[in-house]
Amino acid sequence: MLYFFEQFLNGIQLGMLLFLLAAGLTLIFGIMDLVNLAHGSLYMLGAYFAATFADWTDSFLLGALLALAATAVTGMLLEVIAVRRLYGRSHLDHVLGTFGLLLFFNELVRLIWGPAGMTLSLPSEMLNAVEVLPGLFYPLYRLVIIGVTLVVAVLMYLLIMRTRLGMLIRAGASNREMVGALGVNIKLLYTMIFGLGAALAGFAGLMQAPILTVQIGMGENILIAAFVVVTIGGIGSIRGAFMASVLVGLADTVGRAFVPDLLHAFLSESASSSLGRALSSMMVYLVMALVLIARPEGLFPAAGK
C-alpha cells in the first residue's frame, strides 16, 4: 500500500513538471494559434541559465530567480525578432520556423556552454528524503516541486480569471480582431503572453534540472509529452492542461511501475518483461487515444472555439 502511494507521488510529481511545460504551450497554442516547437528550447535555456547563475551567485534560489527573468526576456526578444513573423501563416510554416529555432538554440548552447552539459546542485538540506507517512520516505525536493507547481497553478488561475491582463488574454483567445478594434495593443499582449509562456517553460527546466539533467536537446523528449498533455486537456485550456498533466504523469508511472509485474502474473518471464516494457512506453499514447475517442476536442475545450 505504501509502495503504491509512493508510486502515486512519483506520478503526480512527473505530472507537475509536465504541467509547467504544457501551461505555456497551451497558452501560446490556444491564444496565439502558434505551434511552437521551440518551447523545449526555452525549457533548456531555463536550466542552463539557472545552472550558470547559481554558479555565479552561489545560491540556488537567487540563480533560479535570475534564470526565470532571463528566460522571460529571451522569450520576449524571440517573439519580437522571429516568432512574430509566423502569425497568420499555416501551421506547417510554424512547425518549419520553430523547428529551425530549435536547431539554432541547440547549436547556440553548444557554442556557449560546450557539449558536456552542466550540473545544478541542490542545497545540501534538499538532498534528502522525508518521512511522508510512517515508513514512507520521499525525496524532499520532489515534494517541493509538487508544492511549488501547485502554487504556480493557483497564481495562473488568479492571473487569468481575476486580472485585467487575464481578461484580455481570454478575450484575445475568443476574438482577436474585436479586441484589437477596441483599442487594445494586441502586439504587446502577444509579446507578453509569449514571455509568460517562456518563463513557465524556463521554470519547468530549472525545477527539473537538479533531478534530471542540464544538457543539449533536453527539451525535445519532454516536449512530445507536453503536446500530448495539451491535446488531451483541450487546446488553450489551462485547467485542461493541469488535469491532463496529472493523468499523463500517472499513466506513465503506473505503466513503468506495475504493468510488467501485472503481466508477469499470467505470462512467462521473458514475454512479460519485453511486452511490459513495450506497453509501458505506450501507456501515455493509449490514454491519449482513449480520451480523443471519447472527447475529440479534449477534456476541457476552451470556450469560443
Partner: protein, 390 residues
Amino acid sequence: MKRAWIAAGAALALTSGPALTQDKTIKIGFVSTFTGPPAAIGNDMKNSFELGLEHHGRKLGGLPVEVIYADDQTKPEVGVQKTQELIESNHVDFVVGYIWSNVLIASLKPLIDSKTMTVVTNAGASQFAGELCSPYAFSTSWQNDQTPAAVGLYMNQKGVKSAFLIGPNYAAGKDMLAGVQQTFKGQIVGQELTRWPDQLDFSAELSKARAAKPDAIFAFYPGGAGVQFVTQYVQAGLKGQIPLYTAFTIDDLSLPRLKDLAVGVPGAQEWVNDLSNPANQKYVADYKAKYNASPSFYGAQTYDAVGLIDSAVTAVKGDLSNKEGMRKEMEKANFKSVRGNFRFGNNHIPIQDFYLQDAAKNPDGGYSLHTVATIVKDDQDRFHDRCPMK
C-alpha cells in the same frame, strides 16, 4: 564539416611528412559520437587519439597519418552508414572507435566483409567477442560482461546477500546485467531495464528498488545518464540505506558533475588514471597539460589503439596490403599499454586485470578516481569459446 576534417588531416599529414614518403599515408577512419551530450565521450576519445599521434610524431610505423572523424550520433543506422562510407569512399586502412555496443553490432558486417583492419576502443558487445569475431578486428577495451562480473565478485567479498539490478534497455545494458549475475552469488530480488536513451527519470524504478529491500543496488548507466541516476539515488535518501555498486557509471567525465554524490560509490574498471606504469603517467600528465581535464577510460583505451596500430605497421614495414602480417603482430599486443601489459585472447579481446575504483575529494577541492585494489587478475571474457578463431 567532414570535408574540413579531411582537409585538416591531409594538411597535417603533408606538413609532418616531408619528402620521404609523401605519396603514402595511413588513412584511419574514426567512428565515435560528436553530437549531443555523448559528444563529451567522443571528444575525450578524439583528444586521446590526437595525443597518441603526437607522441608518435604523427607517424605510425614511419608513415604519415590521415584521420577522418565520423559522427555516429549515437544511432546504429547512422554508425553503419558512416562505416560503409569510410570503407567504400574513403578507402581507409584502419577503422577505430565505437562507443556503443548497438552501433558496433550494426557496423560489424561491412567491417568484416571488407576485411578492414579494425580497432574497437570501447564497445564490448558479446556477439563481437563470440560468433561475430573477425581475424582483422581487435578490441582495446573489454567484453561488456567482464567489468560487471568484477563488480559481482567485489559484492561477494562485501558480503552482499541480495541485489537489485538496473540498467538501460539496449545491447550493453543486457550484457551488463547478465555479467554481474555470472559472478554474484547472492539472490537477485529485482531487475529493471529502462527505456534508452530517452528515459532520464528513475523515480518509479528507485521506488521499486526500495520496496524490494535488497542489500545492494547494482547500476550500469554510461555517459550523462550516470549523472542522473546517481543524483536521483542520493536524492531519494537511498545512499545511507542501500549501498550502490556501479559499472561504467562514475568516470572521469561524470565525476566533475557528480562531485560529493559519487564519493563512496565503488565501481570496477580495467584502467584508472592513477595506475603507476610510465606509459600511463606520461599519457595522463600530457593529457591534463594539453586539455586541462582528466582523461577517462574511453580516452585511455583509444590512446592504446595508436600504439597497437603503430606496432602493426612497423612490423610490415609500412606495407599496408599485408593484412596477415599486421594481424599476426597485433595478436602479440606488442606495445606499451597505459593499463600495463596485457595479451589478447583467441577472439582479440584483451585478457587483463580489473581494479576496484573509488571517487575521493582531493585537498585542492577537486575530485578524482583512485585504484583501491585488484579485484581479478588476467580475466578472460566468457564468450571466447564461441569465437571460431583458435
